[in-house]
């Protein structure tokens, strides 16, 4: 094979993934290990525009926006991981059950999916977080309980394709029960699609957490969270303090897009049709 000096899609994809993972883990570890003093109140330095001392500027209490954003984003990441874990487990179970058992169970699962997608997502989030009495618990529950429908659909349609293949029928003939066959022969085949789905679920979870926090339902105002930061920035934006909104939102956007990049890249790599382009 001739070496052209150009890197192929596979290598490029792996580089993207590495960069994305690096950014996210730096934010995560930095945020968790950050002492409270880093974004503490310093009235002598309030509302400073971005500069060398404070790259992202400071807010009305002199808190450093870079540290606040990192801390906030790491909180968002934790909530997103929790939510994605719960939602995706539910989606896998529901999707596989619907497709394997068919009939009533299938229509019931489909009906539930339609039900959840029938209310605007934001309203559902608000209702659930309201039920849980708002706060951290409310946000986490709301985000965790509302992200399964789309993934359930994906898993279900994938299982439907595998269900009628020869080897699954053979397994039934050999006396395997439906559950055994599902676990041994169907789930492993759905796994790649499922994993991509889980990763693509993160950005939604992060975004929705930020959105309801922004509206005031989520994390309390003293907690550093991107939603809180952006909603506070609204008070100062009319006086031209653009950096209070720009940088934190940009970090959120970067995190969301990187998750998207990881997900889409994995999808391409795992698909034999495009994996070796």
């Amino acid at each position: 094979m001739k070496k052209t000096g150009k890197i192929n899609t596979r290598t490029k994809t792996l580089i993207y993934i590495a960069a994305a993972v690096l950014y996210l883990s730096v934010i995560f570890i930095w945020g968790i290990s950050m002492p409270k003093e880093a974004y503490g109140i310093e009235y002598s330095e309030k509302l400073l525009p971005p500069g060398w001392g404070h790259i992202f500027g400071t807010d009305d209490m002199g808190r450093d926006m870079l540290f606040r954003s990192v801390k906030g984003l790491s909180t968002s990441l934790i909530i997103a991981v929790l939510a994605a874990g719960i939602s995706s487990a539910a989606a896998l179970a529901a999707g596989v059950a619907a497709a394997v058992f068919g009939g009533r169970i299938d229509s019931f699962v489909n009906w539930c999916v339609d039900l959840c997608m029938g209310i605007p997502h934001l309203i559902l989030l608000i209702l659930i977080s309201f039920m849980m009495g708002r706060g951290v618990k409310g946000v986490t529950a709301a985000v965790a309980l509302t992200h399964w429908p789309e993934l359930t659909r994906i898993v279900r349609s994938e299982v439907l394709q595998i269900r009628n293949s020869q080897y699954v029928k053979a397994a039934y003939k050999m006396g395997r029960s439906r559950l055994q066959a599902a676990w041994e022969h169907i789930v492993p085949h759905v796994l790649p699609v499922y994993l991509v789905g889980v990763i693509l679920l993160f950005p939604h979870a992060i975004m929705h957490e930020a959105a309801i926090t922004f509206l005031g339902f989520g994390l309390p105002a003293e907690e550093p969270a991107i939603g809180v930061i952006l909603s506070e920035s609204m008070k100062y934006i009319s006086t031209g303090k653009w950096w209070l909104a720009f940088f934190p939102g940009f970090m959120l956007l970067a995190a969301v897009m990187l998750f998207d990049v990881i997900g889409e890249s994995l999808k391409r790599l795992l698909n034999p049709g495009s994996g070796n382009e």
């Binding site: 029938g118 309201f130 934006i237 653009w242 909104a245 959120l252």
Partner: protein, 326 residues
């Protein structure tokens, strides 16, 4: 005949979902750590004991939850949606009044993102791989991931604060009487929120149209059209639009749910008095009647969008039409 049956089935399904939505919302409200009486009259109510008794009687507040739901549903169907605590007026009035503001906002954003997104998608696909295509693609990927409220804040700080082209918020100039407000005022105040809201949907529709159009450009009948000597403009007009418009419109109708949620965020950035900001206020003030009302109302709104998408597909797509006529 099949039309009727299909329609009947769809409507039945939607009704069942609608009932489920109201049950679900009701159950969620019930589970909230808040006293039912407080939920209906608010915390700082100066009502007399008799008036409280009357309200409790009307909404069956002292009965078990199932009876309470029955009472609520009965009143709801009769058009009594309760009184909003936040706005001190009947929920139905509040919702209809607020929706009048929101509907124009959503309509403007929806049309703008639909038309612009579709045209951009076509243009990108026709010039595949060009600089313009790459710019459109990247921009759409970014816009798709960007939080609506952040985009709103950026638009606000650029166009309203820095350039001073547009007002900072609200739906009309401050200090003007209601009957002095002109249509121009309304439109002037609506531009920035509508722009914010249209950013939410534009990425999706552009990328989708681009993908569809690329698939079609690679098909054999386009190859044949080229061999016949059709120009690019002719190919797009005769084959491209016919094959891509329908799915794009359907996608646009199916986005009603995101539109509603996005409106809540955009309205709260621009303090626009629409249904979205009423929703936020209701949630933050534990205004249960208004929350329930908006939840059910939004579900109807989303269902209407889905129904329109289904019907349009059935009526306009000859393949489905033929199949169902047989």
């Amino acid at each position: 005949m099949t039309y009727v049956r299909y329609l009947g089935r769809t409507v039945f399904r939607m009704l069942s979902l609608l009932i489920a939505v109201s049950v679900l919302s009701f159950v969620l409200m019930e589970a909230a750590p808040i006293d039912p009486m407080t939920a209906y009259i608010g915390t700082d109510s100066a009502l007399s004991e008799e008036a409280k008794e009357e309200i409790a009687e009307h909404w069956s507040l002292k009965d078990p939850p199932v009876r309470r739901f029955a009472a609520w549903a009965e009143n709801f169907l009769q058009g009594d949606w309760g009184d909003s605590i936040t706005f001190k007026r009947p929920v139905k009035t509040v919702i209809l009044e607020r929706f009048r503001y929101s509907v124009w906002l959503m309509l403007a954003a929806w049309t703008l993102s639909g038309i612009l997104g579709y045209v951009l998608g076509l243009a990108a696909a026709v010039r595949r791989g060009s600089l313009g295509d790459r710019i459109i693609k990247t921009l759409c990927l970014v816009l798709q991931s960007a939080p609506t409220f952040w985009i709103g804040l950026l638009i606000l700080s650029l166009f309203a604060v820095k350039l001073r082209w547009f007002p900072i918020g609200l739906a009309a100039p401050m200090g003007k009487l209601a009957d002095e407000i002109t249509l121009a005022d309304r439109i002037y105040h609506m531009i920035l929120p509508a722009l914010t809201l249209s950013v939410l949907g534009i990425g999706k529709i552009t990328l989708y149209t681009r993908q569809k159009m690329l698939e079609i450009m690679e098909s054999d009948f386009i190859l044949f059209a080229r061999a016949r000597g059709e120009s690019m403009a002719q190919i797009v007009l005769r084959h491209g639009i016919r094959n891509t418009l329908m799915p794009a419109i359907t996608l646009q109708f199916a986005s009603f749910s995101e539109l509603f949620g996005g409106a809540a965020l955009a309205e709260s950035v621009f303090s626009y008095p629409g249904i979205g900001s009423a929703l936020t206020a209701a949630g933050l003030n534990a205004d249960v009647p208004l929350l329930l009302g908006i939840a059910v109302f939004s579900a109807v709104f989303v269902f209407a969008g889905n129904l329109a998408a289904n019907l349009l597909y059935m009526i306009l797509d000859p393949r489905i039409r033929e199949a169902s006529a047989r």
